[in-house]
Symmetry: C2
Subunit: 645 residues, 2 copies
Amino acid sequence: MDNVFIPFSSSGLPQGSKLSTYLTSRVPDRPELSSALSGLTLSPAGKGRGLGPSARPFTPESTANGSPPQSAAAPAGPATAAGPPGQEAADAAPLFEENVGGTTYYFRAEDAAVQKSAEPPTITPPYTAYVAPPARLSDAQAATHPASFFVSDQLREAILRQQHVLLMQANPQAFPGACPSTRSEDLPTEVDNYHELCLYLPTEVDNYHELCLYLPTEVDNYHELCPLEPPGQPHKSSTFGYVTSAYKATNTKSGQCYCLRRIHGLRLSGTKCLQLVALWSKVNHSNLVTLRELFTTKSFGDNSVVMVYDFLPAAETLMARHFSQPPQLNGFADPFQDPSIPRPYSAQKNAVLRQQNALIPEPLIWSYVIQLTGALRQVHSSGLACRVLDPSKILVTGEYASPGGSDRLHINCCGVLDVLLFDNNATNPLAMVPHYQQEDLVSLGKLLLALSCNSLLAVQRDNFSTSISIVERHYSADLKALIMSLLMPPRPRTIEDVMPLIGARFYQQLDTSGRLAERLEDELGREVQNGRLFRLLAKMSAITERPELNLEPSWAETGDRYMLKLFRDYVFHAVTDEGRPFLDMAHVVQCLNKLDAGSSDKICLMSRDMQNVLVATYAELKQCFQRSFQEVFEETLAKEDAAAS
Amino acid sequence: MDNVFIPFSSSGLPQGSKLSTYLTSRVPDRPELSSALSGLTLSPAGKGRGLGPSARPFTPESTANGSPPQSAAAPAGPATAAGPPGQEAADAAPLFEENVGGTTYYFRAEDAAVQKSAEPPTITPPYTAYVAPPARLSDAQAATHPASFFVSDQLREAILRQQHVLLMQANPQAFPGACPSTRSEDLPTEVDNYHELCLYLPTEVDNYHELCLYLPTEVDNYHELCPLEPPGQPHKSSTFGYVTSAYKATNTKSGQCYCLRRIHGLRLSGTKCLQLVALWSKVNHSNLVTLRELFTTKSFGDNSVVMVYDFLPAAETLMARHFSQPPQLNGFADPFQDPSIPRPYSAQKNAVLRQQNALIPEPLIWSYVIQLTGALRQVHSSGLACRVLDPSKILVTGEYASPGGSDRLHINCCGVLDVLLFDNNATNPLAMVPHYQQEDLVSLGKLLLALSCNSLLAVQRDNFSTSISIVERHYSADLKALIMSLLMPPRPRTIEDVMPLIGARFYQQLDTSGRLAERLEDELGREVQNGRLFRLLAKMSAITERPELNLEPSWAETGDRYMLKLFRDYVFHAVTDEGRPFLDMAHVVQCLNKLDAGSSDKICLMSRDMQNVLVATYAELKQCFQRSFQEVFEETLAKEDAAAS
């Protein structure tokens, strides 16, 4: 009767069968699960002593006796279950009795009669639980990623960081500026020639700074604006030639977050460019930040054009990721000019040197190549050109997996130049696209050269030969060939001509991507039960100890609720034989899972004064639970009805 | 004082500021979130009436008054906060008072003085929460996948199905056979010529059936064997020419599940073939089921060879997925022979006809092509050949996303033929590999032809021209060219020569894969908080209402625990003004989140007899919580120490 409080065996199963062996031996069998449980800080059992829920006798505080295991409930036990079908009629006797610890319990036999005609080759417990990470995943991450019932710390941190950014709000005290829109007539933003206006605005308008410190509560269909850049004197974007600001904002209709890119002091001279915006909004690619819409607004106190993009929380730019180090640490440092080092190096020596000089590993560069060419291909095949392939306009997300395993690039700010430089007089606004597409290829080549040398200096004309020799020394001939073909004539005609240069690396990228999806599925498998358990426990807490319901103060202490109260004691207030608390998350999870599944396993509940002993199945407790919650819920509805009438 | 029980405003923020507006308006703003809350069945507020946590007055059962909002606690409110720094000294007065509902409360001013010197442009709440699916995901899945705090049903079902399979156990009553190993000398399994043995065994050995119904408890390092095929008279595998069985089993050391593929009645005549197994175990690819090890055993009562593979729960074979329909439904049915239908069709008409004839969509076939060639490339570059590219030996997993979006293929049973047909007399066991690699390419071509025609009949020599014309009519020229090049000479020399025929479809596959990872990250973001909340609530339940601790029966009713008991009432037993229960999951989640974060927000707790009123911050409650749990935990440790001494 040692482990009677965890009646593991399923209906009709002999004790000591495979199932009960499996379940009772689960924690001790797998040390990594045991330690995972101790990580919950609720389980002293995990302290390396292998104390599973049933590895040691323990008694819930409120119950003195064990519940009889299910298998013992059927008098003939497993022998009957395996017997000929003719015996079933005899099993239909109304009650069975069993003596446990000197007390006689009575059971109905219905459970025992079930599942006798067929003998399925396999049986499954009536609940599910996370088991262990699949072997194919644990190879790579065994050290950093032990089995646990919860998502890995690294990934959780990455997700929480994103959610944190999504919940970020503007500090109203940092934006005390009043809306100067009433004075907009005095502002030179009304001047038609918008290009001149832009150069003029920052110096001449004395309330410009105030303008920057003003944040409207609502802009078009967006509210909850939150600046993504520090406030103060804004500076012109070197790429766009205009003052721009970026805001996180929530769409009032969908509730989703977007990034508003505001171009200060710009008036559109026509609506023709909206055609281009419509084209851009149809370009969808996982390596591209989608442009959603464009609108003009005076809400900021000037004439602004706002372009709405998807918001990627907690993303950083390629510039910040790779080009923010001081220049002496990058690829143009001395080691490369040192003639005492013999060249060319072996592949291994190159890898070492790359690391010493903080050069980017070659597989990561190829991963970037594949992602960027994929996005460019989508853009070009839509009849558009990117035009902003700059490290400051490419976002990087996801860095929780092994280095480079989950980095994803997203080309940002597409279409801004198309709008800024739109020529209303041109007959065909797309006439120049083939030219810009060629420029995209050159920009890609420059970007790859800068990444390979780990310095933006690499793309300067004077440094070109040095840069190429750095690439030659530290990377494969394929990478050099790719960069050369993009930068030197004859250049590839289209982005698809680059594919043969990438070659079988596509397979590598796909394999990495497939593994990432498998890992994420595994992580999700750990957490997927917790939401359900949390809801269950929240409902339970809403029932037990409720001071009154419908003016009845003893509601929580009587009837179904009394059963649940005893069950609550059984789950959470278990004590050992010496009367000390027994804390074990596995016990809690298992009891709640069985309750939720309405298992036919039986438990013995005892009142706190030890005068009443009740034997109940989880299925019966589940009915108590559902009825009780329904009562509470209906009282709530009664309130609604009363309010409505 | 309507919404005083949800003191939303953060420290120093004026009420009605952006943050409080955001938080209080969150649920009404987003109908999809509101309905998600109602999906919890705990929130009658979600019944379309827009009753958010603070949209309507309500009072916890045990407290008669509201807690004063934080902003009101600082007497000068936001004006002070925005004022000149010199005013800070004045704010340092020891106590502030405020009258709420006729009662005067006193507060310390420390909180109000914080964060005045710097004005950060943004502020974030002290907790995180899932906000909404990113716009880039909601486009595709808006209809089936509304925002919720829990993982989508489809994906959860897929994950639970996997976990269910992992927990599956053998039914001991279906395997009553006794181990015949004592009689193994009588068995013809001892005969050295293993091929003959195999043909001989099923008919001649009278206890063979018994053998099949026997399941050992442990085999080598694996236990918890569970058959993956129905028991009974086993049949020879047409691919391998041997009787084989597959079992799920758990490694006794790692606790991870593996698939044991047992080859009945086979004795290895040497250990040389283990070199090949070692080679195979190093081939790792996401589209390949990894072979882990090979061992021989007599545990099953005969001489069996067991090959251990990774276990993919809830996978189905490509055969079951695509070739299990009755033959009249497949591509060889009449419509194709009907001369009244003009040919060739338009691409659109082809798509319609494909659907009518249950043909596989072309993008899915290309996805298969890319995955299979990727795995083959890895195998071939390791100096091995697959040799089992058969629909019955390819597993499909993951089908929760949009059709084809997450289907992953895994080539199974690699290396079995290498072991079965191993020639111990050959000087170089790998001599034939180039030949087998060529055969792999032909097998791939046949597989693709069968998939395109949706029938295994397609690969029969007589049907070849019909099959090719079906491919021609219903699929692109590229697919036909790929199949032809694999089946007809001149065939590609290596698998990499196939890449140009796939072309830019690699980008499509990568984009799909990237979106899948994004979607999984989003799903994980929904659930990632729930594990923490569940743990918090489980700890709380272990403290409140505990009958006694360390022989002190009133432990749960005094000191810190009393505060927690009142807090529990505040969270779960809130009632409206009319005394009816107020159930709102958002209220529960927010209170628990603030407790976990130790927020400086204040709440007003009242005893059940309404005689005592306590105003406490969540930070103080968190300290009570931590101290109380520590006490329980230390008592548990004391038990461990006592047991150890």
